[in-house]
Structures are given as structure tokens and as C-alpha cells.
Symmetry: C2
Subunit: 378 residues, 2 copies
């Protein structure tokens, strides 16, 4: 563990490989004795008392001493290892992972491999995750594009999983809009997964960030997608599910957002569309807020008004009392009528009609022409 990299960085790279993340036991050890001593202790199988679970967690891979190779592989593609001790570590965003129920796949990451110019703390400060079905409909693609470019225009980074479907459309729209997007991967940052996204991933790496807690070379596996999902949710200020079928991976990320206490939104769609079933269920069950446009997505993270949805323009007869409306309706569209006729048509007494007409006159809704009342023009 010496050579061209500082020993501390080599230790982190070693630690990032010897346990399948997330591994709370290793983090606990590192937090206590530091990365260098933790790495030595694991390598020598001699951990401080009380840290024995670390031995079990690293039993399968502790001999896999590839720290320098991993750092070389990252450097070769312009990537870096960001650790819990780095200034750009998004500690506040990831804190909830440490506090969430860690029975399944909770726990903070030990370190993150990052390929691209975007800083993790900047990303975490203003980002929204757009996620959804790999098998997106054209409707889902359209809405994703609208939300992704709109959120980008509002200054948010858009985080997703780099996959086919909604993820890919979201990344692409942000790249096209000149914004910042980050793809959190279930494989190493040097792997193009899916392969068909290699050009897109290269573009994301050039302007945003490819992020992974798996060492370079790691291949995607189902359990890693589930583990990865918690990072998508925790790095984002809010998560929006654009389309999700009855059984969708997006539901797992959505569950993480809920567990972490992050706002969760879901976009409705035609009830006849299989790819909106999951979104409708989340909304119906009260798990997700209905998101219909950029404003309501922004509203998830700025509930104090930044994203207020327009409430439509006011109609001239809004705010009239029941009697005033009855009087208004009793006046024909063309020509004028007398108060008696209005009273009969409206079923109201003359004094009531007279009072209502006065108010309608003030409001500019009716006018008196030669003793006859008519609806005001314009």
C-alpha cells in the first residue's frame, strides 16, 4: 500500500473493495481508527476488540489487494475516489442512510467513485431524481423530457440510474439542455452499462457525474441495482417516479426515498397505461405526491412557494353571492329587462333584486340603459 498514491487514499481504495457495500461494520471501524489502520487491521485479520463482524464481512475478499490498480483504472478515465473524509463528501445527504433501518441494504457508503466534473456536495445540494420504467411509453418519455429540461432550467441537477427508458431520457434531456446530470451505477464507473448507453454515459461524465460505490471493473448484478437505488434516493432532494408498471425497480427507489424521509412524487398517466399503474398506486396509497409539471416537482423540495401551480384565471362572476348570481343569470344575453321581470325569473323579491343589481353594476357586470337592465358588454 505505498507508491504513487498517498497511503491514505490507497487504504480507502482497498476498503472500498474488500466488503460488499453497504457495510456499516467497516464504516464503524474506519470512523474509529482511520482508513489506514482499518485497512491494515482487515488485511492482517487483527481488528480491535468489538469489531469482529468486520472480519466476517471481509472474509471473502480481504486478500483482493487491488487498491493501486483500482486507482489507476479510475485515473485512466478521469475518475476519482471520493471518501468520507473529503470536503466534497455529501455527508448531510447521506446521513439519513446511516439512520435508516439498515436491516436490508441501508447504511452509508464508505466511499464513492466519481467520473466527471460535478462535485458530490453540489449535486446533493440541489437535485431531483427522475426515475421510472425501462420500458417507458412515448408518453412517459415525453413527460420525462419536459420535467428533466425544466428542472435543469430551474437550476437542479437531475439524478437517475443510467438505465434504458425513463433514466436515459432524463439524462439525455439534461445534457441537451446544457444542465448537470448524474448517473448512479450498479457497476463500476468504468463499465458502460447498458452498453448501448456508452455515448450517453461518456457525455454525462464529460459534464456531470457517473457515480458508483463499486470498484472499477465490478459488473452489474441484481442486488447491486437495489443497493444502488438507495444512493439515488439519498443524493437527491426529492425523487419523482415518471412511469412505473405494476412491478418496477422504480418502486424500490421510491421506497428508499420514503424511508429516508425525502419527498416522493409520482406522475399520473392514462389509467389504461400499464406503465402508469405503479405511479397511480403510490399516489392512491398516499405514498407519493401527484406531480403534473415542473412547478409541482420543484414544489417537492421548495414547498414554501417556489413551485406554486397556477390556479387559473378568475372569472368575472366569481365571488358573487348566490342571489347576485341568480339575478345575473336572470338577465337575458340580449336586450334589456325590467326589475319585475328579473325578480320573477330569479324567484327573488324586488328589493333583493335591486340590491343585487347595484352590486353587479358596481362590478361592471350589468348596466342600466333607459331603465332597462342588461348584461354589460365586454
Amino acid at each position: 500500500m505505498s507508491g504513487k498514491y498517498p497511503s491514505e487514499l490507497t487504504a480507502w481504495a482497498y476498503l472500498a473493495r474488500v466488503a460488499e457495500p453497504p457495510c456499516a461494520d467497516v464504516i464503524t471501524l474506519v470512523d474509529q481508527v482511520g482508513a489506514v489502520d482499518a485497512a491494515s487491521a482487515i488485511r492482517e485479520r487483527a481488528v480491535p476488540d468489538g469489531h469482529e463482524p468486520v472480519l466476517a464481512a471481509t472474509a471473502a475478499r480481504y486478500e483482493s489487494d487491488r487498491a493501486t490498480e483500482d486507482l489507476d483504472a479510475a485515473a485512466a478515465i478521469g475518475a476519482r475516489l471520493v471518501t468520507r473524509s473529503d470536503p466534497e463528501w455529501p455527508a448531510w445527504s447521506l446521513l439519513a442512510l446511516g439512520q435508516a433501518d439498515t436491516a436490508a441494504r441501508g447504511g452509508e457508503p464508505l466511499a464513492l467513485w466519481v467520473r466527471g466534473p460535478a462535485r458530490l456536495d453540489d449535486l446533493a445540494a440541489a437535485s431531483i431524481a427522475l426515475i421510472g420504467s425501462r420500458a417507458a411509453s412515448s408518453y412517459g418519455g415525453h413527460v420525462t423530457q419536459m420535467l428533466a429540461s425544466g428542472l435543469s432550467g430551474e437550476g437542479f441537477a437531475v439524478i437517475s440510474g443510467g438505465a434504458f427508458g425513463i433514466d436515459g431520457v432524463a439524462h439525455r434531456a439534461v445534457v441537451a439542455a446544457g444542465g448537470v446530470t448524474a448517473a448512479v451505477m450498479a457497476c463500476g464507473i468504468d463499465r458502460d452499462y447498458p452498453a448501448a448507453h456508452s455515448a450517453l454515459l461518456a457525455e454525462i461524465a464529460r459534464t456531470g457525474a457517473i457515480i458508483s460505490e463499486y470498484p472499477p471493473g465490478t459488473t452489474a448484478a441484481k442486488h447491486r441495482f437495489l443497493t444502488r437505488n438507495r444512493l439515488v434516493a439519498s443524493l437527491s432532494g426529492a425523487t419523482v417516479v415518471v412511469e412505473a408498471g405494476r412491478r418496477s425497480g422504480a418502486a424500490n427507489t421510491a421506497a428508499w426515498a420514503r424511508k429516508l424521509g425525502r419527498p416522493l412524487g409520482a406522475v399520473p398517466g392514462p389509467v389504461t397505461s400499464a406503465t402508469s399503474v405503479g405511479c397511480h398506486r403510490m399516489i392512491a396509497d398516499g405514498l407519493a405526491v401527484l406531480v403534473s409539471d415542473v412547478a409541482s416537482a420543484v414544489n417537492l423540495v421548495r414547498p414554501d412557494g417556489g413551485g406554486d401551480i397556477g390556479r387559473g384565471r378568475v372569472k368575472r362572476t366569481d365571488g358573487l353571492s348566490a342571489e347576485q348570481l341568480r339575478v345575473h343569470d336572470a338577465i337575458p344575453g340580449r336586450g334589456g329587462v325590467g326589475i319585475q321581470e328579473i325578480a320573477f325569473a330569479a324567484g327573488l323579491e324586488v328589493p333583493v333584486v335591486r340590491a343585487a343589481l347595484a352590486r353587479l353594476d358596481i362590478d361592471g357586470l350589468v348596466e342600466n340603459v333607459g331603465g332597462q337592465w342588461r348584461l354589460a358588454t365586454g
Copy 2:
């Protein structure tokens, strides 16, 4: 007030015309002295002490003594006047109107003109209102048809307003399905409004019911639509808004359902559709429950299970622990592997892998062939 009709019925018909409904003051008087005496008192302008507001409410029309003509007009088209004293009066359903805030247009109806074989109490016992935009989209029409015929098949009467768009599609679908549908009108039951719906209204009258609290001959007016809406909501066990634009009359009926404490549902649609904006807002604001199919509509009135939505089929790897899933994923799709290889790929200790494999074997997910583990076929 004598002749071919019982004096009581003539009195009700007179009362149904002399005040613009709803008129709580007239109902209070009728409940106290009976219809015959109430009619006489109003006609003679001599009401019991404390009932003076009745005089004001009937001042414009008390001389309009057309009871026999109204009953004749109704009889001519096979209609009847159902009053608060009739056995089929849906007292329980309408009760909430009397208790609701009556500042605007609350209040129970005094009597209802009904054209068609359906009894009001039967309708009120098992009905759902389907309402929405006059300018329905083809999507809205499709969903309305699905819900209307489905609810009809589940034994519900479908109540709507007889208008163009969602209303018309709902009525038509129920008629086509051989079910019962009722149109609550903002004009007299003898008026075909809109005129283009005359054939449809005739069909509804033949098999269901045309309902109005306005005397025969009354023309539709804006305030009557608003007043009518409260009857749609109160006669229905639940109200479902299928499509509603930013400013839709359906929102008024929806507000009545809320005010009366009746379940309110709204159908989502494409966020790109102007005719779903109102529905999305009601759902987003927590005013309406998201309704995506017949089951969730039924669920509004039978929350204890009658309308449970299917939750999708279970996947074979559901219910596995994180470690079992990691072991499962570490086994390649083709060929067999040894425990050591699995342990390395999964990042788990051999004893843990062995335990997980045992469980996966029992579940039929993996099999051991000649000491090598592979994924079970089928």
C-alpha cells in the same frame, strides 16, 4: 286546488313552484303544518308566526298557481312528483343537505319530479355519480365508458347530469349495458336539455330516471346547474370526476360531495391533457381519491374490500433476504459454480453462502448437480 289530483299532491306541486329551490324556509313550514296548510298559508300570505321568511322567499311567484298544469304536464310524459312524504323519498341520502352549510345553495329539496321507472330510494341505495367535462377527450370518453359499464355490471346505478361529454357517455354506456342510470337536470323533466340528447334522455326515462326539483317547463339557467349539482352528489354514494379542466362545473359537484361527506374520486390522465388538470389538482390537494378502475371506484363506497385492486403476482425471488438474493445473483445464468466462487462473487463467507443455498434449494430456485450449484430451470 281541487279536481283530479288529491289536494295534498296539488299542494306539493304548488309548493314546488312558488319558491326557487332550495328553500329551507318552505320545508320548515311544510314539516310543521303539512303541505296543504303550508300551501294555503303561502297563497293567502298568512303564515304562522316565525315563518315570515317564507313570505319573502315566495313573494315573486306565490300567485303562480299552476299545480294542476304541472301535474298534467308530468303525467303526459309518464312522470310523477315524489315528495318528502312519499315512501320512496331518499330521506337518508338527502339528510346531509339539510345539515350542510346552507349559506349558498344547501338545503334539501322539497320534492322531486321523476320521469322513469327507477325509484329514488333504490337509486340512492347503490349509486355512483360519474361526472366531468362537457368537452371530454377521447381518453375521457373511453374511461367513462369503462367505468360506467363496469359499475353497472357491479349493480350500481350511475348518476350524472345529462350533459354533453362525460355525462352523456356515462348515461349511454349504462343504457347499452342494460343497467340503471339517472340524469339529474337543471331544467324541468319535460325539457330535452341539451336538445341533441333528446333520444338519450328518452332512453334514460324508459329504463332509469330523469330527476329535477324544477317544475315542468323550467328552462336551464347557470345557477340551476350549480343547485342541481348538490342533488347529483347527495343522491350518489360516491362521486367520481372522470375529466375536469382547470375550470369545470364538475369541480362544483365535487365540492358538494366533499361538503356532504361523500367519498370523492378523480381519474388521472396524461399530465399533458387540459381536461385532466382539474382531476390532478383534486388528487394532489388531497380532496379526491385516485380512481384508476372499476374496483377503485367501488372501493369508494365499499372500503372494506368489495373493490380491492389486484396487487400483482408474486415473483419467485420475492421474500428472499439480502444475502440470499446476493447468493442467487452470484450464480451465473448458465452452467454450475462451486461454493467458493459464489462466496467471492457475492462477497460473503462460505458458511453464509452455504446457509443461503440451502434455503434457495428448498425454495426450488437453485439446484446442486454433481457438487456444482446452478439456477433451477423453470
